[in-house]
Symmetry: C2
Subunit: 369 residues, 2 copies
Amino acid sequence: MRLSLTQENLARALASVGRVVSTRTSLPVLSNVLVATDGNRLRLSATNLEIGINYWIGSKIEQQGSLTVPARLFAEFVSSLPHGNIELSAIDNVLTVQTPHYESKINGISAEEFPLIPTITSDPVLSLDAGLLRDALAQVVVAASADEARPVLAGVYMYTEEKNLFLVATDSYRLAEKRVELEEEPAKGFSVIVPARTMQELVRLLGDASDVVEIYLDENQVMFRIGDVELVSRLIEGQFPNYRQIIPQKAETSFDIDTAEFLRITKVASLFARESAGSVKLEIKAEGEVSIMSSDSEVGGNKSSAECEVAGDDGEISLNARYLTDALSVMKTPQVTFAISGKLSACVISPTGEDVVDDYLHIVMPLRT
Amino acid sequence: MRLSLTQENLARALASVGRVVSTRTSLPVLSNVLVATDGNRLRLSATNLEIGINYWIGSKIEQQGSLTVPARLFAEFVSSLPHGNIELSAIDNVLTVQTPHYESKINGISAEEFPLIPTITSDPVLSLDAGLLRDALAQVVVAASADEARPVLAGVYMYTEEKNLFLVATDSYRLAEKRVELEEEPAKGFSVIVPARTMQELVRLLGDASDVVEIYLDENQVMFRIGDVELVSRLIEGQFPNYRQIIPQKAETSFDIDTAEFLRITKVASLFARESAGSVKLEIKAEGEVSIMSSDSEVGGNKSSAECEVAGDDGEISLNARYLTDALSVMKTPQVTFAISGKLSACVISPTGEDVVDDYLHIVMPLRT
């Protein structure tokens, strides 16, 4: 293998690819990144066996070849180099990296030991704006379960319905649903569950990309392609809960409030809710005020209030402050609506304001007190 | 106790005072901050028994009093509040914090249980510009020892000589000496060893203060006063090593180099020096190049070079890359001089360039290879 490319391109690719690398693994080759020529481009690949990534970089290839090298060392080294041209060459699984003032030899492992990262060759099921998908996913993935006890809850449910893409996640204590309106109805609708970790990685990978992202599916896998990058992941098998039935259809009490102010009083209240594992009580007064109460026999207690515009009667509900903080942190609008239907029904947080599209809702289950 | 003050002032004071609080302590009151009226000001105090801090804030005092409350909770709470006026009141060691929309009760401990933070009432031994002292200390404290095996090495040696204040630290592997020229010779010279942790805290406390800092001394203690803040610390007893004798007086080989470039090649080399605990070899070629070599049987090896202006013969020396990185990271000038006198003598790094004052040197002991 012998080729040259720019430090800027290689450093950027290694930073993206390196996040997928297994850090704790009994199989040393999984800590490595595959460096392989592919026609007139260089391909970097990494996998943790659940997620795989392929990243192609334009290069001047003089001799084809491949090997794997420790991902972290290679990335740190390249990111430390000055901008400009870098020459890579490999003999006997040792990678030589050369610039006018730097020469390194990095011991690698044969490319043959690297697991195959599958690709999907069928047509994409959907193409959409990368920024749109990133923002939508970031609003949803927060509600996915962090544990694998119920595998479907550790994923993001992604399906199409007419001209809409829906993204849904729930850990059974809260639920987030985002609707993305598509430019046209997809030729073939679909419905899959993608691991939340894949989606978190995708959000980072989409970064500030302004490209289009293409989504590919086969029976067990999903692939996202953004320009010269492919992210491949297994799908989660199983049936996503019929979540629509738990979305309350009417509200006894609701209020519109400044999002930042609501987040602030929630955060303050949570400081005094550690003993109670985050339990806080919201009291809504019809004349236009919401108060959040928390108390902790050890540290003390707090009552924080904010003005708001109430529709309906007085009301109250007990919640986990963390779920409310998470929900408010991903709201994009300066104002939100918070709606409840008694102490035992789920509450709904949704964007509000003039010209705001009704395309997102976040549900938090109440605590019984 | 009953008083009012602004959120901005209280939050700033709590952030400074909170850093001194013991986080792991068997004595609960040491995790607390003392809140006490003092004439027409509020005094916040914290101590970890080695360092103590007193911070006065202008307040509208309505009723004198004092108590202690958990420092971290109080600081987090106040920093979350909106700007504006805050009312504090205390009854039976419960602190009530009130603003128009927030009311908290924080359980405290009686002020009587809080250790006395001593003060020094004699005249200051020195007054100097806060920014000057902060920058000088930051260049020196990095060389102090992190362990207490030899207590004097875990401190910064601070002494006056004619119109100069000297700050010196060494962990026996490297040494940093800074000379600060004073406006006038102090009436009474002094020579003390201040714990490095105190100096690190002082660097943070001086922050971007543009005030004057006054230094007070008594037999066992030092006090730094910046405006309405006092930092009090024990002194380290013992004799600082006679360090001047290890400063090489002449150089066989030296070179002037761009500081950032030298730092960059050192950092790159250190990536390949993990197995050898940081050991790298510098090779200086009289025709104007320095190379840093490192190798690691597991990961590989590296040679990084940079152009420089050499005086004297070819030379080489082995060093710990971390010490060189630390030294270069605190250099303030775009160019530095690196000087050696054979493989077994200490090397000297010092600022260089037109109009550069010769007031700092950093010595690193060689590794025997």
